[in-house]
Amino acid sequence: MVVGDISTGTDVLVIGAGPGGYVAAIRAGQLDLDVTLVEKDAYGGTCLNYGCIPSKAMITASDLAHEAGHAEEMGIYADPEVEMDEMVGWKDGVVDQLTGGVEKLAKANGVELMEGRAEFADEKKARIVHSGGGQGSETVEFEHAIVSTGSRPIQVPGFDFGDDPVLDSRQALALDEVPESLVIVGAGYIGMELAGVFAKLGTDVTVVEMLDSVLPGYEDDLARPVKKKAEELDIDFHFGEAASEWEESGDGITVRTEDEEGTVSEFGAEKVLVAVGREPVTDTLELDNAGVETDEDGFIPTDDRARTNVEHIHAIGDVAGEPMLAHVASKEGQVAAEVIAGEPSALDYQAVPAAVFTDPEIGTVGMTEAEAEEEGFEPVVGKFPFNASGRALTTGHADGFVRIVADEPSGFLLGAQIVGPEASELIAELGLAIEMGATLEDVAATIHTHPTLSEAVMEAAENALGHAIHTLNR
């Protein structure tokens, strides 16, 4: 390596290799664009290294350990021992396999990979700053840039992620030992997914949430089965309380909270996990030098072609705003690459599916009944409970339901909400139905395999039409 400045040129410079950036780069490579992908930390970004993948791996493993110890009802008697370091090691192996795959796929599609932090020099130039002293920086001239710098956890005043007992989700997913007790600040999806993991591994979990319910933003009846199961796992909830500070006490810590009236409560624990949300990363790349604007929340506003206010600079993924989801980042990445290649692509999706991998899972897509009304539709709703599903009963997991929201006059599907087993997978069919402009009749008339959970989707559609077989029609 030469110390000093080297200068190269590229059609497309992609900054950040999360599920937004690496997908954009691969797609650009497939479209024969000359593309450079810069990453300052780890290929795969938050999602593969510290987020989606590690959390889902730990959910699988903790579920198995828990279920095996609680299946007396099925005549199974076991008392599983968990070696946390080995479990985390297994998770790391999964992550390595996937991030290694990303690197290989990027190269195979002709993507130039660069390690370092990119910062804009001007509208058409960026410096790549290598970490570790002594290494010089490179300058890359680009025709187009795609900003995919992602997001980071929001820090609560008084809770510094640098302090040992204060964990962000990334640190919580890399512990050597199962903590005896844990306070989790925030009952959003990340907090609730991790609350389940630790409770199932035997940790004494307390969840503190400023708002008044678990999974704020989700409809009450979707959140209810999740709260019920969490309570069965002895998770303790405190709503309407904000975490204010912590201090060491004995061989653990005390976390202090305050409610609206200023009443202070204290919770003892070994560690505290703060999961109150994520904020866009826009301070790593000198956006101003390129003239790219951000909004009051720090996100980069974009249009339906994923373009920022600067026409040849795109922004995708978490940094481009809500919903902050990996699959939205990837979709935006694909579209950005295709738009740059001159294809007639756009962000024209009708509905974004989302999943929460709690126990039970939640899957949603499109509009709720209330949203459909607001949009001027005349919604009709069909519902099917999993306790009437043969397949659900045979899996031992029959809490929850499938709900479909449609426009009554036309029959068009508008949205769906699922809470229950495999909700994250079942929502896929409904996502396709909505994108296709399918009607209730289309879904109801489609043969679904017996015995499967997907039959509940068909029956919910039939229920909306007034003729479900396995549940009573109102």
Partner: protein
């Protein structure tokens, strides 16, 4: 074709029909749908493009 914005609100048409509309420079919201409940098909999009006399309306 000129760039058409995807606009606001639900569109009842398959992704392939929506993409075709952009390709042909047709605003899908203005297309009369012939499918069930007025779903817009690829054929509807092509017909709209032809009757509007868009240059590459016959394009595949």
């Amino acid at each position: 074709a000129e760039e058409v914005s995807t606009g606001e609100g639900r569109v009842f048409a398959a992704p392939s029909a929506r993409r075709l509309a952009r390709e042909l420079g047709v605003d899908i919201a203005s297309v009369e749908g012939s499918g069930p409940s007025g779903r817009v098909t690829e054929r509807d999009v092509r017909q709209t493009a032809e009757s509007a006399g868009t240059d590459d309306a016959s394009g595949e």
